[in-house]
């Protein structure tokens, strides 16, 4: 792995799906956590229903109808992994009536043009 140490690429993880309807959100987070060990330049983007992944007060209990593990706290731990660049699509937030106060982590809100520009600067884009 020695030759890897010299290469630092810009990795972007694009999260487009709601947190519990499919396994994409959970398994995307697992890639982010493992990837953090590689000391790359990591960003996360949340668009479409992906913005719900960051919603505060998620209740995944059996009583609430899901009966799944609530992994939303993990997003708060990302900072400890030096994953600090979280971008959220403005239109997706607006369409769902969400504001930054509804989210459990600090994010930067980007409009479509800024999001596209940020994506264009990446070396590796993983879309989930």
């Amino acid at each position: 792995m020695e030759e890897d140490e010299e290469i630092i690429k810009k990795f972007l993880y694009v999260n487009r799906k709601a947190p519990y309807g499919t396994v994409y959100a959970l398994e995307s987070l697992e890639v982010v956590l493992i990837g953090a060990a590689f000391d790359q330049d990591v960003s996360l983007a949340f668009i479409d229903d992906g913005v719900y992944q960051l919603k505060k007060d998620q209740n995944t209990s059996v009583d609430a109808g899901a009966g799944m593990k609530n992994f939303s706290k993990t997003y708060r731990a990302l900072e400890a992994y030096d994953v600090e660049k979280l971008y959220v699509d403005k239109k997706s937030m607006d369409e769902r009536g969400l504001s930054v106060d509804d989210l459990l982590v600090d994010v930067e809100i980007l409009d479509e043009a800024k999001m596209a520009e940020m994506m264009g600067q990446q070396d590796v884009v993983l879309s989930f």
Partner: protein, 130 residues
């Protein structure tokens, strides 16, 4: 060019696996290098040798195994995603106390670090999924 390939969907259910295969094959025929093909999410199901598709249909799993043999391809299945979905090799079956394994020839099971490494080492990482 050196490509990394990520397959995020299962065989037959979704075209992603077919597209990934066709892309990989075409790239190799044009003289490009495939650093690794990584199978994640339901994509791990591309690696079960217990698949029995109808005779008049393509055999997606065998097709990957044959391509791997022909070009010495590195086909890697994510261990965490594989365990959730019941895809085991001999070592994992033993370790987990299961009575069988089902991984097809030419595939190996490893960690997500192999995906990140593919992103770092390849000039392009191409994602096939939903």
């Amino acid at each position: 060019m050196k490509f990394g390939i990520l397959v995020n969907e299962g065989p037959y259910q979704h075209q992603a696996s077919d597209s990934a295969y066709q892309f990989t094959k075409a790239a190799l025929e044009k003289g490009h290098e495939i650093f690794r093909v990584f199978f994640y999410h339901d994509g791990v199901n591309n690696a079960t040798r217990l698949t029995v598709p109808p005779r008049d249909d393509r055999n997606i799993v065998d097709r990957w195994s044959e391509l791997a043999k022909e070009h010495n391809l590195d086909l890697v299945v994510c261990i965490a995603a594989a365990q959730r979905r019941g895809l085991l090799d001999e070592n994992e079956a033993k370790r987990q106390g299961k009575d069988a394994n089902n991984i097809a020839e030419g595939f190996r099971i490893s960690g997500l670090g192999q995906l990140i490494e593919a992103g770092i080492q390849s000039e392009r990482l191409v994602v096939f999924g939903d």
